[in-house]
């Protein structure tokens, strides 16, 4: 087993375990800590896939901003931050649906074939050219949507609104 394969196996197991733990623990703050580890782990997978720009973006946006935003959400909606959630149980039907989805998708992987292709690394300057020239309009649209969402969020949480 090569070093890359070992790294991928470890990262994949950490991703699956932290994602499951985030949804199964009863304290919301612990959930957010597990999710933070999950996001950092995904950033490591991006680095493994030779996408360092995306890895840094994942660390900044997800592991940084989104985690802090979620923590603020917990802090502003609870009297005791470490209060436990009521037990909601696992439920046989949701578990079965999740397993069916997983098995269905994994069984479709056989269609891909087994041709091994090396991971391709890109120069980040080509990515910026692709992002700002080829896909420039989409990036502009993203900016407009983000602006609209910020306005909408402020409208939703502003004082005096009934």
């Amino acid at each position: 087993m090569s070093l890359e394969e070992l790294a991928f196996l470890v990262l994949a197991v950490i991703a699956l375990v932290t994602a499951a733990a985030a949804l199964l623990v009863r304290e919301l703050v612990h959930t957010i800590l597990w999710v933070a580890i999950f996001f950092v782990d995904l950033a490591a997978i991006y680095f493994l896939l030779e996408a360092p720009f995306l890895g840094v973006l994942q660390l900044g946006v997800y592991a940084g901003a989104v985690t802090v935003l979620l923590l603020f959400g917990v802090m502003t909606t609870r009297k005791r931050i470490f209060a436990r959630e009521a037990v909601t149980g696992i439920g046989a039907t949701p578990l079965a649906l999740a397993l069916i989805t997983f098995v269905f998708l994994v069984s479709a992987l056989g269609e891909l074939g087994t041709s091994e292709q090396p991971i391709r690394s890109y120069d980040p300057s080509y990515l910026s050219t692709n992002l700002f020239q080829t896909n420039g309009p989409w990036l502009l649209l993203l900016g407009l949507i983000m602006l609209a969402s910020v306005s909408g969020s402020i409208y939703l949480v502003r004082e005096g609104r009934e």
């Binding site: 949804l23 493994l48 946006v61 935003l69 999740a98 997983f102 994994v106 969402s149 939703l156």
Partner: protein, 106 residues
């Protein structure tokens, strides 16, 4: 750089994450946990774009990374709006349990 990693292993990881996400969406009643479940599913989808960008032989594979950048922005936006809804819901009902927010039910 030549590695022995294969695409199907990565795709199986994404399928597992999507399964966990679906399980969370169907079982959790707390709005913040629902948002986190949706984020896990969204990350599974973003990972797929990066896999195919990394394993495609052509230079057009970069489009996959560009789409991933845009999707990460969308996901952050979605969290911001979702948390605004959480705060509004908490102010209005005193709880963020989605099972108790049933005004729109027929």
């Amino acid at each position: 750089m030549t590695t022995t990693l294969v695409l199907s292993g990565f795709l199986a990881l994404s399928a597992g994450l999507l399964g966990i996400s679906i399980f969370g969406i169907l079982t959790r009643r707390n709005f913040i946990l629902l948002l986190i479940s949706i984020e896990i599913g969204m990350n599974a989808a973003i990972l797929n774009f990066v896999y195919f960008a990394a394993f495609s032989g052509a230079s057009t594979g970069l489009t996959g990374q560009a789409i991933a950048v845009v999707l990460i922005g969308f996901a952050a936006t979605e969290i911001a709006v979702g948390l605004a809804i959480v705060l509004a819901l908490n102010r209005l009902k005193g709880t963020i349990n989605v099972a108790q927010s049933n005004e729109l039910k027929l």
